[in-house]
Each structure stands twice: as C-alpha cells, then as structure tokens.
C-alpha cells in the first residue's frame, strides 16, 4: 500500500529506496513495469504515461533483477540471458554476440559458463547472470528488487564493486529497492526512505546519514552500530599499543 508518493528518477542516476519488509518497495517496482496498476495516480516511463504503453513492450524495455534471481532452471545460462532478445525477435547471431558480451561484462567466461544450468552456479554467479539477463536487450532502465539480498556479506561486497564498475560502463537509469541501508549507500547516488507506504526522506547518501528524522534513524541504526563497533575496536587496539 503506497500513499502520496511523488518520485522522479533522473536519467542515468541510481536511486535506492530503503524500507523494512512490507514498506511497499516491491510494489513501486511493479507499478513501474505495470505488473501492478496503481488505484490512482500515474507512472510515467520514458516520458510516456504507463497506461498508454503496451505492457509487454514496456517490460521488454526495462531490465528487471529479481529477488532470489528468478533464473529459469530449465534453461542454460546463455538461454536465460537471451530471453528478452529472443522475445524482441533479434536474429540468432546478434543474440549470441550480445550474450558473449554480457558474460564478459559480468565476468563469467562464456566457454566455462554459457552452457551451465542455474543449479550448477554459486549464489553470486547466479546473481551476475540475473544482472546480465536484465541488461541483455540494452534497456535504458533497470529495476532491481533486493538484488544482492540472499548473498553472504563478502560476496555481496564483491558484487557491489562489480555493480559500480558495470554502472559506470553502461550508465543506466536504475531504481533499486532494498532493506539494507548499507547497500543503498554503497550503490546509489540518491537514497529514499520508505516507511508504511510513505516516502519520508529522499536525498544524497551523506544527507540521509545526517538526517534527524526518527524513521530514517531507525533504518540507519544497524549501520551506526556496526560503525561504532569498528571504532570501539580500533580505539581499544590503540589503548593496548600505548
């Protein structure tokens, strides 16, 4: 349930929406690609009202990285990546070339990975394939729903670096939703905070970090705790040295 939401994602920016589970994050993404239709209000995509788009056309022009990846288990890695190009009717040679290019981009050598099935990959590798699939038809817009949520912290940090490298290479308009403020800070140029279906803050990461709003502080809490713990440890270390 979302109320009074007014949000504009600028071309080429990475905007992250942070909120607890049930805050309405996924609903926003589904409203963008018309998996859900808002009761009232309007979603404008690429300057055109959502309702005026052919929904299938619209979705093929928006990359989507899903929670838990959502790779098709009966398809190989390369067939998973090729889904949207084939829906768009690309010829096979163009599709094949694009798949190779994307496998290189996400650092999965085609020779080794193209023919594998999703269950033969690690969680991090699956997530990279998920990103490659979303980018396959070179859509200007990318939606990411808890893209790195299911990964261990080390792999997640690695994929965050990877994401920034890829984003600097492809320059997409990206909307990420996550419950992890650290992830939002690490990936986005602007961060919004959602609480109970209402957007309570929207600003650049350092401004969000300094916010006095209790609902924003609540989302920052785990992050501050971790930082404090790190500081405490380092001062303790210094203490023993002197």
């Amino acid at each position: 349930m979302l109320r009074g939401l007014n949000l504009a994602v600028e071309p080429g920016e990475t905007l992250a929406l942070v909120g607890r589970s049930g805050a309405g994050k996924s609903t926003i993404l589904k409203a963008v690609n018309r998996l859900l239709v808002p009761d009232s209000g309007e979603v404008i995509v690429r300057g055109q009202p959502g309702a005026s788009w052919d929904p299938f056309e619209l979705r093929r022009g928006i990359g989507y990285v899903l929670q838990e990846v959502g790779l098709f288990p009966h398809l190989t890695v390369s067939d998973n990546i090729a889904v949207v190009p084939r829906l768009l009717g690309w010829d096979e040679s163009r599709t094949d070339a694009r798949v190779d290019e994307l496998l290189r981009l996400v650092d999965l050598p085609a020779g080794e990975y193209a023919a594998r099935r999703p269950h033969e990959l690690s969680g991090g590798q699956r997530q990279r394939v998920g990103v490659a699939r979303a980018l396959a038809a070179d859509p200007p817009i990318l939606l990411m729903d808890e893209p790195f949520g299911a990964l261990d912290p080390v792999t997640r940090a690695e994929l965050h670096r990877e994401f920034r490298r890829i984003q600097s290479a492809v320059r997409k308009t990206i909307l990420i939703v996550t419950h992890d403020m650290a992830e939002a800070m690490a990936l986005a140029s602007r961060v919004g905070v959602l609480a109970d279906g209402v957007l309570v803050a929207l600003d650049e990461p350092d401004a969000i970090a300094r916010s006095e709003d209790a609902r924003v502080r609540a989302m920052l809490e785990p992050l501050l705790e971790a930082t404090a713990a790190l500081r405490g440890n380092s001062s303790a270390n210094r203490g023993t040295e002197s």
């Binding site: 979705r59 989507y64 899903l66 959502g70 829906l87």
Partner: protein, 510 residues
C-alpha cells in the same frame, strides 16, 4: 516355456495381434495427449472451467470398461465393433491421467518464475510455452506414461469388441481354461507396458532438450506426430466400410459360442454367395446384443433362457414353449428374428457317475433323490448361493445329502465327481468333460431349470436383404444334439483342435 513354444508356433498371428495392440494404444494415447494437454492447460488457467472438467474426466474413469464398450457401441461415428470403438474408449481412459498431471504440472511451477517471465515481458502465451510447459513437462510425461500403461492393460479388453490385440489370447485362454494361452497374451502385454514406459522416458528427454533449445525441433516433432495421428485416424474411421454382400457373424467369448459362430459362418459360406465376416469372441451377452441391435453383427447364437432373463429382464419361467414364444415376440418387436432352435440345450446339468446311474438304474433327478442321504454333493459357489440354484432345487426334489454340499471351482468339479470325491454335481449340459469322464446327466423331469435352447438370432433386415441367408441358417434347425455339442466342445477344449476344423468335420457329409 510352454508360452514361448506357443508363441513361436503362432508367430505370425502373434505379430499381428501385437501390432494391433500397439496401434490401439499408440493412436489412443496420441489423441489423448492432443486433447488432454490443451484441456489441462485450460483447466490450470481457468479454474472455474477446470474444476468441472477434471470432475468429468474423473467420472468417466469410473465406468467399467466393458460397460463403456456397451454404451458407446450403438453411437454413430465412434461406435461399431472394431478398432474405432476400442480407440474411443481407450482415449476416454487415457484423458484423466493426462489432464490431471498437466494441471498439476502447471500449477506446481514456482510463482516467482512466472513473475520473472512476466517481468521480462513475456505474453501469457510465451510464458506458457517458454516457462510453464517446459517446467510442467516431467509431470505431463509422467501422466502420459501412466496413460500408456493403463492403455496397454485396457486394450486387452478391446478383444471383446472385435478390435483384436493381445486380449484375443487372454480371452481365448480364459474360454479354453488354458493358462498357456492366457499367458501368451498377458506376458507380452506386460512387457509392452514396460517397454512403452521406458520409451516414453527417452522421449521425455528428447522433448525437453528440444524445448530448452531453439524452437524449430519441437515444431518438426509436432508435425510428424500429427501426421502419424492423422494417418491413423483416417485409417480407422475411413477404412473398413464393408461391401454390401457381407454378413457379419458374431459370438460370445467361450468355446461353445465360438464353435457355433464358426458353424453359422461355414454354413452361410457353403449355402449362399454371401461373404462372411467373423466377429467371434465378443465380450459376453451384453456386447453381442448391443452389436446385433446396432447392426454391427447380423447374426449370432443366443440361448432362450438367457434372452428371457438377461436381455428382456423377465422373471424365470420354466415352460419351454412359452419362453421361446415370448422371446421370439420380444425380439420381433425390435426387428430381430429368433430362428428355430439348433436342437440342444445349454442348461444346468445335474450329473452323477455313469456306472452309478447304471447300477442304481437312475434316469431323472427324481430317481436319484432317495439316494442322496448316502451322497456328498459338490456345487459351484454361485449355484450354491443363488435362490434359483441349489436351495430351490433341493426343495423341488427333496434332496437331503449326508453333509452340506461342498463349494468347488467349476473347472475342478467334473474331475472331483469322476474321482469319487463327491457323488453329485451341477455342471454344464454341453461340457465336453461329461463324455470324457463318462458322467451321466439326470433329466430335470419336474422342470426346475428354465429352458436354455440354443437358437440363432438374426437381424430381420439382413434376412430380408438376403433371402438365402434365412434358408441357410434354417438348415441348422434341430441339427445339433447335446451329445454332438459336447463332443465338439471336448475336441476344442481338451484336444486343443481348431474350432474351424471341428466344425468342418461336423458339416462334412456323413
């Protein structure tokens, strides 16, 4: 081992039956897939339509196969004796597993994957074809395998409507009480089921590979499959329209009936220019009667008592003339002519050992009644229980045995009498074993049993169309004594001779 011997001596016949069997199962399973998978898809996507649909195929599954054959027999287009009807029935049975597993397979696809497909911009059709169907495929193929295996089993019953297949051996073996012949049908049918199951597993892999890859392969497979299907259907539905000067002779599925069917056929062939088509070994009174009424057969031999009680549902009547006339009138009202009786009666026979009958000078059941306190009796289970079996008989003739009668299997009862384990049995008046064991049939002089006179029943239309036909059948009136019927039954059952040869000898001028 003896099964193997039998199969190697009947090699070409066996090959034909196996091919028929495979054909029945293959065509019916393919049609069931072509109909059932789309129905399953529809049911999975529109539950409101799907629930009653699944209920319907469920309900169809509970109809016993022989009853289904009987009900569908008179229908145009799908009915009629032969492969067409068998395939229709097999399709009905194959639908349930296929529809159900298709529904279950599609519903079991992870909703997250369905959402992923939609988010990538798949239309419902593309989603079905690229995501839901491939993921449901193992489940669907499992259903097809179940359907094919059930089909192999059910197709054995197709022999009851003259569609051939391995069931021919099973029915023939049952009527001859010969386990070798039964097994000659049952074992290959079992192996066929296993082979089909294995083959479909391989097919599943092939289809899965094709679906996962590029899209041309399944298209080609589909076209090929549809081609085979179309050819099969055309063969079944267009083929086999009989030329006009043909008479179709039917029979039920036990030895005496097959001999009588053969007798009618050879007589008609000898005395008329008509071509005879043999539809012997049909699955019982119900099927024969239905086939006669629908015009799928023109003539077969019925027993007056059976027609009176089983076909026309009349109360038991023991007056021979009255029963004959009543049955004749009832048949006539439905365009069927009851011909003159053949001369013998296939009724219950109360039997004692021949030497005993001679020694005590017994001729009738009444004569034997005073001796029963010294005797032990043996009866079949059904005869022992039924009110119109032993209990009524004992009252009618005041039979009092020294101990309660023993319940025995009908196939063992003649031998038990000959071996003096029992002293009186109820058997079958035309059994070949009566002569073989030198048994004596006591006359039912108080007329306890209803009359079971054997007489041909023919379609009046066929008789009118071919005047020679009635004369040919009529030539058999009163020609077969009970002793001759027993001898022919014995020649086929005990001496393993071909019914056609036995009949030929009988008809040869003496």
């Amino acid at each position: 081992m003896r099964v193997f011997e039998f199969l190697s001596t009947h090699r070409s016949e066996f090959g034909g039956l196996l091919t028929q069997h495979l054909f029945l199962v293959a065509v019916s399973t393919m049609v069931a897939v072509a109909v059932g998978v789309p129905l399953g898809i529809l049911a999975a996507r529109r539950p409101r339509l799907g629930a009653p649909l699944v209920w319907l195929v469920n309900a169809a599954q509970t109809i016993p196969s022989l009853a289904m054959f009987g009900f569908l027999l008179p229908l145009p287009l799908i009915g009629g004796l032969g492969a067409r009807l068998a395939i229709t029935v097999l399709i009905v049975y194959a639908l349930l597993p296929i529809v159900r597993t298709t529904v279950a397979g599609i519903k079991s696809v992870d909703p997250a994957l369905v959402e992923a497909g939609m988010a990538l911009g798949m239309t419902p059709r593309q989603l079905l074809r690229q995501v839901q169907l491939p993921l449901a495929l193992p489940s669907i193929v499992a259903g097809v395998r179940v359907a094919a295996v059930i089909g192999v089993g059910t197709a054995t019953i197709a022999a009851a409507v003259g569609a051939g297949g391995l069931g021919e051996y099973i029915f023939r073996g049952l009527s001859m009480v010969d386990p070798t012949v039964i097994l000659a049908g049952a074992i290959p049918a079992g192996l066929l089921a296993l082979a089909l199951d294995g083959g479909l597993t391989l097919a599943e892999r092939a289809v899965r590979g094709a679906l996962a890859g590029r899209r041309k392969a399944p298209l080609r497979v589909t076209i090929a499959a549809l081609g085979v299907l179309g050819a099969g259907i055309a063969w079944v539905f267009l083929g086999g329209a009989p030329s006009q000067a043909t008479v179709r002779v039917g029979s039920k599925n036990f030895t005496e009936q097959i001999i009588l069917g053969e007798l009618l056929a050879q007589t008609i062939e000898a005395r008329t220019p008509l071509r005879v088509e043999r539809r012997l070994n049909l699955g019982g009174t119900f099927i024969c009667d239905r086939a006669l009424r629908s015009g799928d057969i023109d003539v077969y031999v019925e027993y007056t008592g059976t027609a009176h009680t089983a076909i026309f549902k009349q109360a038991v009547d023991t007056d021979r003339g009255r029963v004959f006339q009543d049955v004749k009138n009832r048949y006539a009202a439905e365009g069927i002519t009851l011909m003159e009786p053949l001369g013998f009666e296939n009724t219950f026979a109360i039997l004692v050992r021949g030497e005993e009958a001679k020694r005590l000078n017994l001729r009738t059941i009444e004569d034997a009644a005073p001796h029963t306190p010294n005797w032990q009796a043996g009866f079949g289970y059904e005869f022992l229980q039924r009110e119109d079996g032993y209990p009524g008989l004992a009252r009618k003739y005041t039979l009092r045995f020294r101990a309660p009668p023993r319940a025995m299997d009908l196939s063992l009862i003649y031998r038990a009498l000959a071996d003096k384990q029992v002293d009186m049995i109820a058997g079958d008046a035309t059994s070949g074993l009566i002569e073989a064991y030198d048994l004596f049939m006591l006359e039912d002089n108080r007329r306890y049993f209803p009359p079971y006179d054997a007489a041909a029943v023919a379609r009046a239309a066929a008789l009118a169309a071919h005047p020679a036909l009635g004369a040919a059948i009529g030539s058999l009136a009163g020609r077969i004594s009970v002793a001759e019927m027993r001898r022919m039954n014995h020649a086929v059952d005990a001496q393993r001779r071909e019914p056609a040869d036995v009949v030929r000898e009988f008809l040869a001028p003496r």
